[in-house]
């Protein structure tokens, strides 16, 4: 037979174990339940956002005629060809009167997927494949470069200015001007 003291110690021990077991079980059961509720609520929010987006889409486009995929691909092409792009840019430079003289040095460099992050440009980099067109021009007239950039903005294929760098020319002095334009491709 156990002594009364030993029996009391065992009783208190069992009681403590039972309490600990129930508390642990509480955290497991309620934790699982909370996770499930959170999961369903987050899914609901997602569906809600999706519905709002779709309803907005219906409201905006139900009465408008959508352009075809091929029309949109004129703005953001689905096929990339470096030669074709170079030819296209050179044609625009020629049209702007920049590539008309043999004496002036004009260089065009094309690079795929330049490292661009942050802000709206970063978002664009996530949506499309970006190609950078770097143009080095010797010029004494900054306005002709502005006109060239405006011209690139007007054409079908989307081009945006990434950066421009030049020394302001004095009178007829020729300066080096570097302009980087970005264009976008939907290659997937």
């Amino acid at each position: 037979m156990l002594s009364k003291r030993a029996s009391d110690i065992i009783f208190v021990g069992i009681m403590i174990l039972v309490v600990i077991g129930i508390v642990v079980m509480r955290f497991i059961v309620l934790g699982t339940m909370d996770e499930r509720i959170e999961e369903v609520e987050s899914e609901n929010q997602q569906i809600q956002d999706e519905i709002m987006g779709l309803q907005g889409m219906v409201g905006e486009h139900r009465d408008t005629e959508m352009p075809s995929r091929s029309e949109l691909n004129q703005r953001v092409p689905a096929i990339f060809s470096e030669d074709q792009l170079r030819f296209y840019v050179n044609a625009q430079l020629e049209l702007a009167g920049i590539l008309d003289s043999q004496e002036r040095s004009v260089g065009v460099e094309i690079s795929q997927n330049p490292n661009i992050s942050g802000g709206s440009f970063g978002d664009a980099a996530n949506q499309f494949d970006i190609v950078r067109v770097g143009i080095d021009i010797e010029t004494n007239d900054i306005d002709e470069v502005r006109q060239f950039i405006d011209q690139m903005y007007e054409i079908n294929q989307v081009f945006v200015l990434q950066n421009i760098r030049y020394d302001v020319p004095d009178e007829d002095e020729y300066v080096e001007l570097t302009v980087n334009l970005l264009t976008f491709y939907d290659l997937d």
Partner: protein, 195 residues
């Protein structure tokens, strides 16, 4: 079988033998009231700590699941509507993405004119020597020539007066050898309102 015997002698001198004739059986253990206590405490605590809060959470989950069903049904209806109007969501998203990148087209020149005016306002002989514009972070880096060193700070204050200028700092003010003027580089961050 008797298992306990005792032999002895009485005070009177007679010998005797005591034999326990009861069978040697184990008696049932005494019923322990502590077990009842443990069970009662376990039941009460389970109710208090698990069942009670769980039932509240279950209601919450049921409501969320009900809403989930309603929303899923609503989404199906909207999808049917989209199909009815022959709208291609992929095409719409593609078009919106294109509009998003077209919105990145910026004319860098008008703000540059404002900066030039700010420089000439402080010092008529002041001029921009080098221009760098980065559209990714909407930052102009302008190398400026001024006759007085003090003018750089005044130009900075003047530039900060322009609504769309978010910050304007200058650094590296020095006088290039062979000139009497000072050269400094301004870094100007602008907001989208600038274009």
């Amino acid at each position: 079988m008797p298992n306990r015997k005792f032999q002895g002698r009485e005070e009177s001198g007679d010998d005797f033998i005591y034999v326990d004739l009861l069978p040697d059986v184990k008696r049932p253990r005494q019923f322990n009231v502590n077990i009842i206590l443990v069970v009662l405490v376990a039941v009460f605590l389970s109710w208090l700590l698990i069942y009670w809060p769980l039932s509240g959470r279950q209601e919450e989950l049921d409501a969320a699941l009900e809403q989930n069903n309603d929303l899923t049904h609503q989404r199906e209806q909207v999808n049917d509507e989209i199909e009815g109007y022959r709208i291609d969501p992929d095409l719409v998203n593609f078009m919106e993405d294109i509009e998003g990148v077209e919105a990145l087209k910026k004319d860098y020149y008008p703000p540059l004119e404002d900066f030039s005016n700010a420089i000439e306002f402080i010092e008529s002989s002041g001029e921009i020597y080098r221009v760098q514009y980065n559209a990714v972070n909407d930052t102009y880096t302008l190398t400026v020539l001024m006759a007085q060193q003090l003018s750089f700070n005044n130009v900075r204050i003047e530039m900060l007066e322009i609504d769309y200028v978010e910050s304007a700092e200058f650094e590296q003010v020095f006088s290039p050898s062979g000139t009497s003027r000072y050269q400094g580089t301004f870094t100007i961050e602008v907001s989208d309102d600038a274009f």
